[in-house]
């Protein structure tokens, strides 16, 4: 994949939030990331995620990074 090309990582933030009965606003307050940035992440428009953000999300949602995102093989779609 070329640098800057579309990625094939799916973020499962909405599923994790639903499983834990949390809203995006609550998560935003807990991890200290703006709702705008969390929406970007949730909708798959983020280009990169900082380890500090990932750590805060895993702590708040009590999950592993692998629960938060997965790789989707574009060629199989």
């Amino acid at each position: 994949m070329e640098n800057g090309a579309e990625h094939q990582i799916e973020v499962h933030l909405d599923k994790l939030l639903a499983d834990r009965g949390m809203t995006l606003t609550q998560l935003s307050e807990e991890v200290g990331v703006t709702i705008v940035n969390l929406s970007i992440l949730k909708n798959g428009r983020a280009k990169a995620i900082r380890f500090s953000t990932l750590t805060a999300l895993c702590e708040a949602l009590d999950c592993q990074p692998g629960d938060l995102m997965s790789w989707r093989d574009g060629e199989r779609d």
Binding site: V33, V36, N37, L38, I40, A46, K47, A48, I49, T53
Partner: protein, 237 residues
Amino acid sequence: MSDEQEAARWLPAGDDPPERGLTEPLGNVVWAFLCFVVAGLVAAPIIALTDRQFTIYGFGHRGVCADVAQNGLDIRSSGSTVANVRAGASSFADSLQLCANHPTLGQRFLVTLTQLPTLILYLAVLVLLWLLVLTVRRHGPFTMSVSRRLRFLAWFILGGTLAVSGGESAARAAFAGTEVAGFGASFTDSANTVLSNAFNGVLANLFPLLLVVCGLLTLARVVRRGTQMRDDLAGTV
């Protein structure tokens, strides 16, 4: 993509526009020069019409003069120009001033062509620089519009300077042709002299011109790369 959309894309939500100091000292200097040139353009025709001792851009009540290159002119004596030159030293004038004491309209027009294009070019470059400053102030330094403006400025300065220096030199040679008898024995000679003067005028400015143009084009590429990096940064959560 419009500038507004672009600004929204590059500036994260809630960010203020870039600080004004980022465009200084260029912003204040360009603004001062613009005011000075515009004031001069407004005042000059008024002074030229009212003051009998004043001639500007070929128009006024007095005769008109133009600095002309020696190329194509026969210089009387050895060409030495400075009196009391010490032994072992010599002096030669590269250009001299020719004046028409009772100029025709055509001569006035030629003198105008030897001076006004430079002023118009300076004014146009100042306006483009001012637009560049405004773009940086509104949308930030690393946007595609800033890169585009830098690239346009570079090509405009290159084309404008070549055209103006060539044109003014040709106008000087043509004015000299109206003042000096036998300047160019035939039409072909005269045209050749005008063309060679124009070519020399272009060559005189070529080295600093190329440096400025290459610098601006490189800066445009740097800004373009910075824009891509900022795009990546804006997508980082």
